[in-house]
Structures are given as C-alpha cells and as structure tokens.
Symmetry: C2
Subunit: 828 residues, 2 copies
C-alpha cells in the first residue's frame, strides 16, 4: 500500500531555553552570512555603517542561505543528542556564506584557516575574503571545510550523498536539495538511489528537500505542485516525507526539532532492524520537505518590491549602495535585526552558551573526516596483475578479450578487499556486456528493490552498482571516492559524454584541492571506456563517438591521464597503475572483442611504463634509418597498422618501417605541458625529425595534431582517425569508412615515401581494387572477408614467415574466433 | 487529493472479429521483425529453413519489439476510430525492426523506399537490409519513416514528445518509454513537462511506460517497485496512470483497446474543456503503464534457459546457428508460430482485410508530416535586424549590453510570428539573467503549474520555456525543430556541457538526414551561450568552461557553425543569419555585460558576412607590411587586444600593427575542411606568411592551433586563451590569471617582434610592474583599477588622439558604467 502521509511532527520538542539559544545561534549564522556578502569592515557594527564599510562588488546568494543555516543548527542538535557522525551536503552550493558561517561558529574554520580567527579581526577577514579576489569562492567549494560537494553546477547532491553513505554504516549524510536543483535530470533520477542502499552495511542518507519556491527569476516546479502531488511523488520514489512548513521562526524551530528527532529515530530503527535481523525488504527511509521563505529573515521589501519570499532574494537582495544611501541604512537595520550584541562579545567571540550548542571535535560537520576522505583513504590490497597475464608466444597470432581478462583481475581485487569494503564497480548496466562478468564470481550486483527467484547475481550485498543513469553512476563514484574509497566506472565510450559536465566539475575539484594544504589526496576516478567507437559497427552511428578524450584533455594536465592499451596484458598493467594512483582522472580505452595479442607480460610492463615505444619485433629499421614511421594508439588502430606493415614489408621488402605504439597519450605532449610528456629529444628519436609518420589513432585525428604541433617533425605527421563516418556495417568496414584501414594506411605511406619507385603505382592500384572487392563482399555477405577477419602477424622474430600474396586467404589462423554470437549486448 | 487509482479499463471493447484481425496484424509485425533480425532469404519460409538463409551476423533487439508492435497496432485502431493525427516516438529505439515492420505493413515504407516493395522480393530486401552493410541501422533511425527520435542514446523520448506537441493542437504524440530509459536523468525529470503544456494551444502527449522488466543484464528499477509506489510516482508527476498488465494476447488486446479508447477520450475531454472554457487548472493527463513480457511471443526457453520474459530476450534471443543446428529449427518453429500463411498471400502481400486495419495517407504514423518537419517548415517573419542597431560613432568608445540588444530583436520576432505560433525561446531559468528580458514585453514564461497573484511574466500562453534542466530544454527544442518550427536555446556557457551528448545525437541526426532524399531540412538548432567563461569572475571556477566549442567542432563540418560576435551589432547580424539558416547547429557565444562597441551596423554586416577581417580603424599597417598581427575572437579577447594595441602604438609609434577579428570561427579551417574555411591564399593575405601572430581567443588556445596547423604561417602563431585558471575575482583579474590580458599580449608581441630595440626591455619591465600593481590593487579594493575599467579606444579615424602614458588614468570615459549592481543573476 501507498504509505499514509507521515504524521507532522509534534510541536514542543524544545524547551524555551533551547529554543531561544538555537534561534540565537541561527541568527549568528545569518548575521555572519549577510556580513560576508556585504561588509569589508566594521564587522560588529560598532560604529554606524558607512559606504566605505561595504564591498564595491556585491556577490553571493542570500536566498537559500538562511534555510541552510536553519538546517545546520538543527543537525548540530541531533548530532549531539544522538551521538551521530554526520556530513552536510549543500545541494544549493551557492549558499556558501551559510556553510562558511557555520563552520566558523563551530570553530573548524579557524582551525583550518588560522588567519580567520574567532575574534573581531578574524570576523573582518571572514567577511572580506568572501567572493573577493584571492579570497574564497561564493559556493560551498573545495575550500569550505566539511564539503565534498560544490553545487556550482546543480544536480548531483543526492548521488554524492549516497556515494558517501555506501559502506559507511555509521554515517548519516544530510543532503539538502534545492527546489531549483530538483528540476535537473541528474537529481530527478538520483532519488532512486534508495534501491541500492543496504541498511546493514551502508549508512543513511537524509534528504532534505528545501522548497524556497524560486529560482533566479522563476518559481520552481516542485513548489508549484499540490501538496498531495508532492507527497505522492516522494512516496512513489520510496521515501516517507515529513513536511516542515512555515515562516515563524519559533514555530519552525519546534517543528524542525521534532521532525529531526523523528527522522533520526526512524533511521536508527531501520538500521537496528536490518542489522539484527538481516536485510529483508527495502525500507522506506524518511526525508524532510522544508518549505520556508526564500531569503527568510531578510528585508521584506526593497524599494517597495517584495523581497523576502520572492525571487528577488535569490542573490544579493539589494545593492546600488552608492547611489541609494537608504540602502546602507537598510543593510544596517537588517544586520542589527539579528542583535549581534546578544551573539558576540566585545572581541567578536560567540558567547560560550551559544558556542556550546555545536558538537565538538570530529563530530563538527566541518571537521568530519569523511568530508576530507584522503585522511581515511587506505591502499587497496592488490593481487599481482602479472598473475592474470595471457600467454603471448608470438606477437599478433593469438586472440583474447582484453576486458574479460581485466575482469578476472577486478574479481580478485574485490575478493582481496572484502573485509575493508572499500572498492566498488560502477556502470550503467554494462558490466557483463563489457565482459567484466568474471567479477560476478566474487560479488553480485547491488540491489535492494524486489528480487525474483529467477534473478541471478542480484543482492543487497553486491559490490557492482548498475543503474541506467550515467549521472547516478558518476555521482555515486565521486561521493565514494571523496569519502576515501576506491572505484572504477565502466561505460560505453559514446555515452560517457552524458557526464561530460560532471567530469568537468570533478576535475576542477581535484585541481583545486591539490593546492589546499589540509585536503588529502583521494583515489583517482578511473574510467574504463569499452564498447568503443570502432566496434559499434552493429549499433551504428549513434553509438560512435570517441570525443571524451578530447574533452578530458582540456582540463589541467596535473589531474588528467589517458591510456589506450592495445591488448590484454597492457590493459592489466595500465589498470593496476590507475587503481593505485591518487587524485587523477584516468581514462582507459580498451576493447572487449576478441582481438590479437601483441605483448607478453614483461614486454607489456615495460611498454606501459614508458608509455610509448618502438615495437622492434614489428619494425625492420634497426640497423638503419626508417623510411617511414607507422604509429598507432588504440587497439583497432594497432591491428590495422600491423596489417598495413605486413603488406608494406611483403610488397616493398627494402622499405625500412618503424612501428611505434602509444599507450599513454600524454607522452605526445611536450614535457613542459604535461608531466608524462616526452622531451623533444626523446620524441625526435622515436618519431625522427624528417621521416613521414603515418599515425593511426583511436579518436578524432586532430587530437594528435593538437598534442604534437610543436614537435620538430609535425609537418610530416599524417593522422588517420575517426571522422564521423559510420553506420551499421561490419567491423572492418567501419574502419574502411573512416579511411583508417590497412589499405588506406599503406596508400598513405606510399604517397609519402619517395623512394618506392614504379612498383608503388601497381601496389596502390591493387589496394584500390581490394577496397572495391571488400565493399562488394560485405554488402553481399554481411561479414568481412576471411583474409581480413583471419589476418595474423607472421613476422616472428623479425623475419617474415613464408606467405603468399595479400590476396591469398590465410587459413592457418584458426585461433581467430568467428564473430557470430560474439556481438555482445548492444547498449539498452 | 491524490487521485484514486485510475480504473482498469473494461474487457470486451473489441468484437471477436476485430480481436482476431488485430492479433493477426500484430503477428505479421512480429513475423517481419524476427525476419529482419535473422533472415537473408526465404522470407515467407516457403522452403525449409536452412543455415544459408540466415545472416552470418545476427544483430538487433528483439526484447522490446513485440511490445512496440502491440502499441502500434492499437494506435492504428484509435487513429481510425477517432480520426487522429498521431506520431509515434519509440524511446526504446533499439526496437527498430518493429517500427520498420509496421511502416512496411501500412505501406509507407515501400513508398519511401520503392525497392522494398510489398511483395516477396521486397520482403526479402526488407529482411536483408536490416543491420546489414549499406542497409539500415538497427534503431528507429533517421532512415525510419515516421521517426523524429532515434533512441540510440536513451533519455529523451518524453522531452522530444512534448517538443513536438507544443503549438500543434491537433497532434497526439504517442511516446513509448522503456523502463530502462526511465532510469536516466533526462527522462526522470522530463515527466514534469506536463507543467508546461497548454491544452488550449498545444497538442497532447500520451506517455506509454513500457515495463518489460529488464535491461541488458539487469531488472529495471521501475519494474521492481511495488504497484502502489509506481502508481504514486506517476500521480506525483501529475499523470493519471492506466495499467495494462499481462501476457495472454487476447486478454491484453481487449485491455489495451479499452484503455486506448479511455485515454483518447480523456485527452479529448481535457482539450474540449480547455478550448471551450479557457485554461484554468493544469489537467491530469492520462498515461498508460504497459507491463508485458520482454521478448513476448518469442521462444520460452533456449538451451534450457528461460528466454521470454527475461533479460536473455534483450537482443537476439539465440544465435550460434552453425554450431547448433537445432537453433535453425527453433527459429523456423518460432517464425511459423505467427502463421505467415494466414498473414501474407503467395506473393508476400499482406491480406487486404488485415491491411485495411491501418490508417491511410498521412494518418499513417510513418507518413505523418510532423515527423518530417521540414515539409511543414515555414520561414519566420523577420523584422530587419538593422533596426535594432546601437549607434557606434567611434569604435570602442561607448558601451552596450549585447544580449540585451538581441533581446529586443527576439521580442519583435516573437511579435511578428504571433499568429503562426512557430517560434519559442528555451533556457534553464536564464532568459532574464542573460539579459534577454525584453522578450517579456511581448510574451511570458510558459507555466501551467500554480500561479500566484504576485507572479510576473508567467502564463500558460508564454513562449519562453524555462525549466532548470538543460536536458529538457534541449529535448523540447529538438522536438520542436524536428516537427518544423523555430527556436533558440540560451544557456550559461559552462553548463551547456550538460547536453554534450544530446548535441552529439542531434548533430548526427542532421548529418544523416542531409543525405536522405525524402527528409526535408529543418530549422537550425541555435545556441546562444552567454554568461560566458570570461565573466564568471564572480561565480568562480565551477562556472568557467569554454569547451563546448571544442566539442562541437568534432562533428561534421556540413552541419556545424560557430560564431563569436565581438559586440551588439555583430551579434544582431549573426543572430539574424542563424535564425534564417537550415539544418545546422549554430553556436553563438556573446557576452551580456556592458562592453565597448566597435562596429556600426554597416560595418558589422560586412564583417559578419566575411566572417573574419582586418580592422582597418585599429591597424596602422595600411601602407606597408605589418610587423605583427594582433588577432582576436570573442568579446573579451577583442577588448584586450585593442587595449594592447593601444599600448603598443603609444610606446612604439613606428611599429606596424594589424588587427584581425574573427567572428566566424570556421573561417580558420582550410576551405577543404569546412565550407566557410578561408582559402590558403586568403588566409595568408590576412595573417601574412611570416609575421608573428598574437591570437587572443575566447576558448581553450589549442582549438585555434587545431584549426590552423596546416596554414603557412602556423609556426608564427601564438595563442592565448583559457587554461583552467580561475577563481572568484574581478573581471580583468580573471583575464590576467589566464595571461590573456592586454599586458601579456603586449609582452607576447614584444617577445616576437625583433626590431623594437632597447626600448622593448623598458616597456616590458613597466608592464610587469603594472601587473604587480594590478594584483595589489584588486586584492585590496576588490575591483579593477579605474584605468582598466574605463579604458576606451582613442585612435579615431586612424590617428592617435592625444593621450598620456598608460599609467595615467583616463577620466574621460564616463560613459563606461560601474559594474556595481550589474553582476546579474549568477546561475542558481
């Protein structure tokens, strides 16, 4: 049955003394918030307020702030009363002044920033620094103690909160959601995170939907639905909503206190039940719907226009201080309405009986270690990745599915860290499709919604988090990492763009926190992008987009890493490295399809450690200068390059070919731009200073140009990559459509190497004939020609095996599996 | 009150004959769907099925398809019964075979693709082409008649549906939402679109939530909630849900028919009420929740494992045809279970009594002109943009807010097209903040949720669509454009990344449809990105990201345009051009803050038409070769470049400086890459072949390198742009932090021009002192130095006005407004 509306909490939870003190504490927080927005000086208003005390540029958001302060003071109370460990996620992150004010009042702020001391001088500094050059941002930013969530871009509060709560059984994550933010897509689906929270092993999220009614210039959707619809919506989402609505502070304090007691007791009861009797059914967790006026306690009217409880309170409720002297008065009046003299002593210190309301030590929400997860971070216990190596006796002759191999490694990482419960895998329903299915021998998919008898690998204890929302996966993982744990996100390459903007914000967070002394590094955010562009032949054009790498490269080099391992052993090596790294975003692009293997484990480790290298076994220029450099990055480009080199060596035995493979894309940049970048000298020695380079690249070709345009030999660099030509076709034909195939690569080389003589024209004509033949074949039979499908590398130990001309079928490659039944699940 | 559960429709709506025929029609659609997935030949199974009749690669998605077919046949019935105009949006776009089958059965398909005729040969072609090289994609793709929605990337079905329904009062958009898709963020919030639909002037959306229970390898969240929660959720979203649940075809047909009758009647009643009595309250629109087995009517078991009603039906339910001969038999059995001989005559034609079930002409959903919106598209009636010009007597001396000026133009476009109702403005609550507020003199914000007496500019008749969900804005606009109307999306630059992936899909749609002969061009999707990176000084780092341009540039040149108008008149000219254009994505980046104006309207039109040009009035190289080219793109870079040139001309009067401004970014590319690209000859004549170029760019600097690396003078190109250095600071300091400021630009030029002599060292030292002085000033006063804030261009008519050294304050620039109170609303 749909739950009946939760009873509204009783009034009268607070004694008169408690009520008076809590209201005073709230006034103090509001006073400090207004001060931050407006004042440069005269922090305690000991002298009459003058224009010169006011900042020349008035910035910040008042509207949401008093509500955030109200919640903070009430959370403080229950933290003390129930001995809780709680962090505060402020979805309306623009309400920075409120969170700064509260961490200042509780003492954390001055501990982290001693210059902002708890006295008049410190308060002046507190006010001045806010949204001021070389001061602090106006949001709940990385600089704000207690924050794991900026809220500059809206939508991720709830998914961050759940990410923090997973595997933290003693933590309650209070998560304030603004009614503006609640309109975003990411937020709207993240309410369903409750179907993935296990009360036995996870902490709790306490969502507080803060309806203050207005966005910048509009009412909000949720504030303009009927009470009944609103309640029905959240019951439908699986919550038990408690309403706290009104504007009279005294009444609201009583209501909020009673409700807070009730929801904490609900949470404790749910946890107690599940932890003593085991998980049975998904519980209906409580949530609070707080409806309070926007800009509560601010000026009712400014210049005759309604301001409190209106969108006009969204930002700075009034400005024009120099042109309207009455505004200076209004500000003084407003600030004095909080009666600072009752709150702070002559030295600007909060009166002790008020200060005593805050929790102490790490129970202060500003000082909760979960909000500075690096403090709690422990290394993963890692099996030796070499153990999972596939055997590669001769390069390019046997096949394997790279991600399937990685899956075994991940399965053991899960197993090794079973006790510490600090590693999870995230993805939008693609773990199996991406062939990481081996992990299900160790764990299940997390699921606390209904489970049917025929379900497999679903359990409330699972450690694989799958929901068909990239936003939610990303938000969960961010929350999980920022509170000191480890994880990996596997996703279809094309659809990772769905979280482009979330990646942006996380990369900015990492960049900023690297330079905040009290913040400790967290584990890296690892993306495994598989089901990539070159094997979306069957899904077609909509599933083809390798541009996430380009997007990532725009962010600060100090936090960005991109890897393109060409086979299973290199993927293992890269995977191991990424999972051990800290405070980066690692992007790994790797195929899931059966593909040729090139390097044994020793070679793989050396290759990955260098990041780029000449593949001697594929090259024949050792004793001389190369005539051409055939470079590649990515699994399919590597295959096509080797197949091209095969043809080149067959038809032009005198041609000196150097094969270069790039695993770590960052090596391409100058070392002055990225710590992994090759020096010009090293780059020149690999790519030569004057020989043609044919570069087969996984992504859009210009990315390689962008990375290398300053290199000596850039003028000779010719890049083939994806160019938005795709459709439903066969795997090799997909490559042909983009001119990245072996035939085009050979023709590219022929066009650029001068010394090939007249034979070149004959070979080129044969290659063109091949392409026509290919097209006819695939459009007739719907699969690639056997000679393409079954091609293997034959130049073992550097000397060409005896082989026929390229138009002879190679029937010896029986180890190459047919693709039938191997397409795997196309997404969704 | 929460609505009581909608009554389940009565059985018995269909006569026995109707039931039998509808079921037969459904069987025909299912038969054709299976055939597309599996068969190369033997379409009517007239001979025993053999391996050679089966495709070598089996692709496509069966799971969702029978449900999509079921809905199609029931929609056909009500279209005929109630004389409806309906289009079908298939959220589970992977169910391509179903929509192709149905448009084939109704005849549309063969009209659009005559080779796929309604006979045996055509059916064979229909089967073979599906997901086959040079055939058609496996999705409901642009190639599918009747589609405006691909569904390759999930999440946008409902927003597309509402976009199509706006201003189409006679249209019912049937919108099938898969329960996988329903987990995405974009979809989860788009249900709230009903608060923006006006039953008087808009059509209706009929959402059909299709619960088939499973994603690729997981159950779905919505299928594993209780019935009550599910119902409560959708009542909370504002709908009246009707459940159709079961698996027995006969029962389900009756239920569905009765429910379809009921929902159409509900919609008609709502519309009649509103259209006769006027809009009063937001109505509770009906929706259908269809719960049917995944892979319905497919094999119950394959190899002993449950297949129907399981995730194993998601894609191809079984393959391995060559290794397991019994699978060939199973397929034959399965296909014959639909009794093709009762459906198609010996020539492969659907029996006439079944064909008669489909609507005819444009009532066929495959042929509804709304799904090929270019057919219905009419030009906007456009006022002359020159009329809105700001006066510019002397370049760079007076200020204006570019977007505010554009707002007047947009207001009149709204007014001019009031009758045709084919233009809307979309944005996440930022129309006013982005200073387009003038439009509210013509129209209101669309709002059909509760309206309070104090609300302003809210109305069910408004034409400005604001919801704090970029996804919903984008989806609405796409749906609106694809059905033949016009629009513009204004957004904060940083947050447009939220829809990166939606842009990808739309650009792919445009690219593909350009080459489909029966598709007509639609109006361009216009982005106005304002509140851009350089004026997020107050909002800080989280609001700073100019990377959308980079993202856009990865897509096909034929559908992409990027404009960076430096001032109001150029913005008007560009805006006019974009709104008249067809089948592009136009990205316009323009500031909203008071800024210097450079070009009068005549000059602006010439400049924008060329896209790039030398600004003669700012250059002094007319009679000689330049010593340096100072190039710029974007409003802030243009300002800084001119201020730099001012200093350069003051300190080095003999230096020949050429100023180049770029409006159309595509001109930078070679003309072989983009139709707007300059020829090398033209590029060389503007940028020289050997002189240093200092390029101040709005975005990330490497984009300019990427566009120009093939140009003759690329080696001398030095680009300054955004490099992820930002915080809350002052406007000019924001520029300094990224080295894009006038001082750095001058130093860059000094470093690269050899002939400046020893004076260069002195000037450089002075500039460094200036930077130190600047930093001290802003960190003390919180605003920029007056000489920066008030700088204006003084070289009227090409000859320098008399002026002091650069360290003298310019007090004559009183027309430059103070920034106080001008910050505008920071987002959210």
């Amino acid at each position: 049955m749909v739950q009946a509306p939760a009873p509204t909490a009783q009034k009268g939870s607070l004694t008169a003394d408690e009520l008076q003190k809590m209201n005073a504490y709230w006034r103090a927080a509001n006073y400090l918030s207004v001060g931050q927005i407006y004042l440069l000086d005269n922090p305690l208003l000991k002298e009459p307020l003058k224009l010169e005390h006011i900042k020349p540029r008035l910035l910040g958001h008042w509207g949401t702030t008093p509500g955030l302060n109200f919640i903070y003071v009430h959370l403080n109370r229950v933290i003390k009363k129930y001995d809780l460990s709680t962090i505060y996620i402020a979805g309306p992150g623009h309400g920075g002044p409120g969170l700064v004010a509260n961490t200042y009042l509780e003492g954390t702020y001055s501990e982290y920033y001693p210059n902002v001391s708890q006295d008049t001088e410190g308060m002046k500094q507190l006010f001045k620094q806010f949204s001021f050059p070389y001061g602090i941002p106006s949001h709940v930013a990385p600089e704000t103690p207690g924050s794991i969530h900026e809220g500059g871009e809206l939508g991720y509060a709830v998914s961050h909160a759940y990410g923090a709560a997973f595997d933290n059984p003693d933590l309650i994550v209070a998560c304030v959601v603004g009614d503006g933010e609640a309109e975003t897509g990411a937020l709207a689906t993240s309410w369903h995170s409750n179907k993935f929270l296990n009360p036995v092993r996870d902490g709790a999220v306490l969502p507080i939907l803060h309806l203050n009614g207005y966005k910048i210039a509009n009412p909000t959707v949720l504030a303009r639905m009927s009470h009944q619809e609103l309640e029905s919506l959240f019951v439908g989402y699986g919550y038990k909503p408690y309403f706290v609505e009104g504007d009279d502070p005294a009444t609201m304090h009583q209501l909020m206190a009673a409700t807070m007691d009730r929801v904490v007791e609900d949470i404790k009861a749910i946890q107690h039940e599940a932890r003593t009797k085991g998980f049975t059914d998904r519980p209906q967790y409580p949530m609070i719907i707080l409806r309070s006026p926007k800009g509560w306690t601010g000026p009712k009217e400014v210049d005759g226009k309604k301001t409190e409880n209106s969108w006009r309170s969204h930002q700075v409720p009034f400005s024009e201080m120099s042109s309207k002297p009455e505004h200076v008065q209004l500000l003084e009046q407003w600030m004095k309405s909080y009666k600072p003299e009752e709150l702070f002593d002559a030295e600007g210190r909060l009166f002790p009986e008020l200060a005593a309301l805050a929790p102490t030590g790490q129970q202060r929400m500003g000082d909760n270690p979960h909000a500075n997860g690096g403090i709690l971070l422990r290394d993963l216990k890692m099996p030796d990745f070499r153990h999972y190596a596939v055997e590669v006796k001769n390069p390019g002759t046997t096949t394997s599915e790279a991600t399937r191999v990685l899956g075994k490694f991940l399965a053991d990482i899960l197993r090794f860290n079973e006790k510490s419960q600090n590693f999870r895998i995230f993805g939008p329903d693609e773990t199996a499709s991406n062939r990481l299915g081996e992990v299900f021998k160790t764990t299940d998919r997390t699921w606390t919604a209904d489970i049917l008898p025929e379900d497999e690998q679903l359990s409330p204890d699972g450690r694989v988090m799958e929901i068909l929302s990239e936003h939610t996966c990303q938000g969960w993982l961010e929350g999980y990492l920022l509170t000191g744990r480890h994880g990996i996100f596997s996703c279809y390459e094309a659809f990772i763009h769905i979280i482009d903007s979330m990646f942006n914000q996380h990369a900015k967070w990492l960049k900023t926190t690297r330079h905040i002394t009290w913040r400790r590094p967290v584990a890296s955010l690892n993306y495994l992008l598989t089901s990539h562009v070159w094997r979306q032949d069957h899904n077609g054009f909509s599933h083809q987009d390798p541009g996430f790498i380009d997007h990532v490269m725009n962010k600060k080099a100090e936090v960005i890493r991109v890897y393109l391992p060409p086979d299973a052993n290199t993927l293992l090596s890269v995977g191991d490295h990424c999972l051990r790294s800290r405070h980066y975003v690692n992007v790994i692009v790797a195929g899931k399809q059966p593909a040729l293997q090139y390097l044994d484990m020793d070679a793989a480790v050396k290759h990955c450690t260098k990041g780029v290298g000449i593949w001697e076994w594929a090259s024949n220029d050792k004793d001389s200068e190369p005539d051409v450099v055939m470079a590649c990055a990515g699994d399919i480009p590597t295959l096509e390059t080797l197949a091209a080199v095969d043809m080149m060596r067959l038809h032009f035995p005198d041609l000196k070919v150097r094969v270069v493979n790039v695993v770590d894309l960052m090596t391409m940049q100058p070392n002055t731009e990225h710590p992994h970048g090759l020096t010009d000298k090293d780059f020149d020695s690999i790519f030569t200073t004057d020989k043609p380079i044919i570069f087969a690249f996984h992504g859009y070709p210009w990315l390689i140009h962008r990375l290398t345009y300053r290199r000596t030999n850039h003028r000779n660099l010719h890049v083939r990559g994806y160019k938005e030509e795709g459709t439903t076709t066969t795997p090799f034909d997909m490559v042909v459509l983009n001119d990245l195939d072996r035939f085009h690569l050979v023709m590219d080389a022929i066009d650029r190497v001068p010394k090939l003589g007249s034979k070149a024209a004959y070979v080129k004509q044969m290659l063109k004939d091949k392409l026509i033949e290919h097209r006819h074949y695939v459009s007739t039979y719907g699969e690639d020609m056997a000679e393409i499908r079954q091609w293997v590398w034959q130049y073992y130990s550097g000397s060409p095996a005896e082989k026929g001309a390229i138009d002879t079928q190679q029937d010896n490659a029986s180890s190459t599996p047919s693709l039938e039944g191997e397409e795997g699940a196309a997404r969704k």
